[in-house]
């Protein structure tokens, strides 16, 4: 995932959700909510979006906090705060998953030996274990498509991949997930 994305209103955003300063200065918007009111209304939805991708409340809170701090920095240059924050949240979640791969799983992952006997809980553990074995992109695709119901176009824009390949990668991710899920006793 490299390069930049053109947001509505002409502002561009890099993969980490940065709006270049010049673009931010060029873009103005009049009928935007204040940062505070936007946070109050949309932060919870963003939190749940991130939570579905990263699978950990602590990590999700950190990601949302990062997104909000970055949104505040560029607030005047952001034409569509909701779209901007959603894309920034997805990309930061993706980066969070990548860094977690490097530094090991979150404490909540892979706790299959906790002695739990409840069937629902066992299933949840199996899901988490299967997800933790997938690549960050596959996890992000599954969360956006199955958890959030995003269209292929929205996913393609957020992950900066061609729209035509979203379907095939999603099917591949589902297949990988199914295989890992069924491996679990």
């Amino acid at each position: 995932m490299t390069g930049m994305i053109r947001m509505s209103g002409g502002a561009k955003m890099t993969i980490d959700g940065e709006v270049p300063r010049r673009a931010a200065e060029e873009t103005t918007s009049e009928a935007r909510p204040s940062f505070e009111s936007f946070c109050a209304v949309r932060r919870e939805a963003l939190y749940h979006l991130v939570l579905r991708i990263v699978g950990s409340p602590d990590a999700a809170h950190d990601v949302v906090q990062d997104v909000m701090v970055q949104a505040l920095r560029h607030w005047r240059g952001i034409d569509d705060p909701e779209a901007w924050c959603r894309v920034a949240a997805v990309r930061k979640s993706y980066n969070c998953l990548r860094s977690r791969k490097r530094f090991g799983p979150m404490p909540s992952e892979g706790q299959a030996d906790s002695g739990a006997r409840d069937e629902r809980l066992l299933e949840r553990i199996a899901v988490e274990r299967a997800l933790s074995g997938l690549k960050p992109e596959a996890r992000t695709l599954l969360a956006l498509a199955l958890g959030e119901g995003w269209s292929y176009r929205e996913i393609a824009e957020a992950l900066q991949i061609p729209e035509g390949t979203v379907g095939s990668r999603l099917n591949k991710a589902k297949e990988q997930f199914r295989r890992r899920f069924e491996e679990y006793p």
């Binding site: 890099t14 270049p20 946070c39 932060r43 919870e44 939190y47 749940h48 939570l51 579905r52 409340p57 809170h61 950190d62 906090q65 990062d66 701090v69 970055q70 505040l72 920095r73 299933e123 949840r124 199996a126 899901v127 988490e128 299967a130 997800l131 599954l142 969360a143 199955l146 958890g147 959030e148 589902k174 997930f177 199914r178 899920f181 069924e182």
Partner: protein, 104 residues
């Protein structure tokens, strides 16, 4: 065991019940990511001065104090992360990078 994709969708739905944590100036993004130690202590000092300047009242208005702290924290975080863009502290060489150019 149920179909894997159904189980996964249930798993995603279950996160909807997870309450969103309260916004708190003390529960910020990991401070090592945005606030170096010096800046954090500077923030604490500023916070103490601000509290004193507000009158050093024995019973400050908690909501007002929290709003001020949040605003101050966010401003500092914004300024500092702009400064941090110039450096890449995680790389062992600590090499200087050109501002505005993305790292590979």
């Amino acid at each position: 065991m149920r179909d894997a994709v159904e189980a996964l969708q249930d798993y995603y739905r279950s996160w909807s019940d997870e309450p969103s944590p309260e916004w708190s100036p003390t529960r910020s993004a990991p401070p090592w990511r945005i606030l170096p130690v010096g800046a954090a202590s500077g923030f604490a000092a500023s916070w103490a001065i601000m509290a004193f300047a507000l009158g050093g009242v024995p019973e400050p208005d908690p909501s007002r104090m929290e709003a001020l702290a949040r605003e101050m924290h966010l401003r500092m975080a914004g300024q500092l992360s702009q400064e941090l863009e110039v450096w890449e502290p995680s790389r062992p060489t600590g090499r200087r990078v050109v501002p505005g150019r993305r790292l590979s």
